[in-house]
């Protein structure tokens, strides 16, 4: 509260100082501007400088005053803060004491209430235990009856299943016999088809083999011819005397002559 008041006081002080300075500056300005036409230029300048000096002194005085006010305000503020701090510490101490007393009383009250509640709960549990035991017995009886009924049902189901199984086995045997007969038929047909197919494949394979044999024979024949030719060439080239070569060449030329090539 005091801090807020001091802050406002400082602000008002600063505002008043600035306002006074502004008024003084305004009056000086009006005076100088009204004398402008009457005075000579040096007089005007002198007046201007004087006015500026006065204004500056006023402003500095205002600033000084404002600083003083601010310093006073700060001092007052510090005093107020320290006072409030002390007050707060005392209040906090008192509050703690009160809280401790209240806590003790509440704890005692809660203990009492909880004891009462525990006793009541124990009573409820005791009564519930009896109820639960009764319900448990009922359930056990019911389960025993149900299981007996289930056993009877299971026995009946087993008998039925056995009958069904026998019927199914019979059906399976019959179906198996039918399938066997059909398979035998299919097997015979398959064998016939396979034999036909194999026969056709055999004929194709025979044809291929014949072709391969023929081509291979041609290849071998060609190879033999080349071999014979190569051997003959080598033997003739190396073993034949030059005189024989000469006579062969002459015979070749004679043949050419007989054919009128030469």
């Amino acid at each position: 509260m005091n801090i807020e008041f001091l802050g406002l006081e400082i602000l008002i002080g600063v505002f008043v100082g600035v306002l006074i300075a502004a008024i003084v500056v305004l009056i000086m300005h009006i005076r100088t501007t009204s004398q402008m036409s009457k005075l000579t230029l040096p007089a005007y300048e002198y007046a201007m400088k004087k006015a500026e000096y006065d204004a500056e002194s006023i402003v500095s005085a205002a600033k000084k005053r404002a600083r003083e006010i601010i310093a006073d305000a700060e001092k007052e503020g510090h005093k107020a803060i320290s006072g409030y701090t002390n007050q707060a510490a005392e209040i906090h101490k008192k509050y703690r004491e009160v809280i401790a007393i209240q806590t003790d009383s509440i704890g005692q009250a809660l203990h009492k209430a909880s004891d009462v509640q525990v006793q009541a709960l124990e009573k409820v549990i005791a009564s519930a235990d009896g109820i639960i035991k009764g319900e448990q017995k009922k359930i056990l009886d019911s389960v025993a009856g149900t299981s007996k009924h289930m056993a009877q049902m299971a026995e009946e189901a087993q008998k039925k299943a056995q009958g069904t199984m026998e019927g199914l086995q019979q059906s399976i045997d019959e179906a198996g016999k039918k399938i066997q007969v059909q398979l035998e038929r299919a097997e015979k047909k398959g064998e016939e088809k396979l034999e036909k197919h194999l026969d056709s494949l055999q004929s194709v394979a025979d044809a291929h083999i014949d072709k391969y044999e023929a081509s291979r024979k041609k290849l071998v024949d060609a190879h033999i011819e080349q071999l014979v030719e190569a051997v003959a060439m080598k033997v003739l080239h190396t073993k034949l005397p030059v005189t024989e070569h000469t006579s062969l060449a002459r015979e070749a030329l004679e043949e050419a002559k007989s054919k009128h090539i030469l």
């Binding site: 030719e229 060439m233 080239h237 000469t246 062969l248 002459r250 015979e251 070749a252 050419a256 030469l262």
Partner: protein
């Protein structure tokens, strides 16, 4: 004495049958004549030529040139040797050529057999251009008037292909 180039060429061709031999031997003749005719030595040209040729390294070409004889040497003089040799070379270049492909190199005697046969049956001035071609195997191939003719054993064997396999097939049966 022979005065024309053709007469000299006829003598040369008596023991020379191939283009290569003719070129080499005419070169030897030219060198011999230029040495003999332009030397300071005196005496018969033939004797000096034979002596010069005998001083060279012995070869079939030198023997062939010596065998040409005095008629060839004495047909040249100091003033005509150059002109006649050039004319002789030009004449040789114009001779009909039979290009022969044979499987082995022929010796002079064999070349003479073939050359004589060619001059007797084809052209009296023919010269042979010999090539060794082992693929020919036997016989020969030849080029005459810019056309190649194949009379080799190789071509005959190609023509007879199948005979061997026929024989083998018959033997198999």
């Amino acid at each position: 004495m022979i005065h024309d180039v053709q007469g000299v060429l006829d003598l040369i061709q008596k023991n020379t049958y191939t283009v290569g031999d003719m070129s080499r031997r005419v070169g030897i003749l030219r060198e011999c004549l230029e040495t003999v005719l332009f030397s300071d030595e005196t005496g018969p040209v033939t004797d000096r030529c034979v002596a010069h040729l005998q001083s060279l390294q012995a070869s079939s070409d030198v023997d062939a040139v010596i065998a040409w004889g005095a008629e060839v040497y004495e047909s040249f003089s100091q003033s005509t040797v150059s002109e006649k040799i050039i004319a002789l070379q030009k004449t040789i270049e114009s001779l009909p050529v039979l290009t022969l492909y044979v499987p082995v190199p022929f010796a002079d005697a064999e070349l003479a057999v073939v050359g004589e046969w060619c001059r007797e049956h084809c052209d009296p001035h023919i010269v042979l251009d010999m090539h060794i071609e082992p693929e020919v195997v036997g016989g020969c191939g030849f080029v005459w008037h810019d056309v190649y003719h194949e009379f080799s054993l190789k071509s005959r064997m190609h023509e007879q292909r199948g005979v061997v396999t026929e024989l083998l097939s018959a033997y198999e049966k």
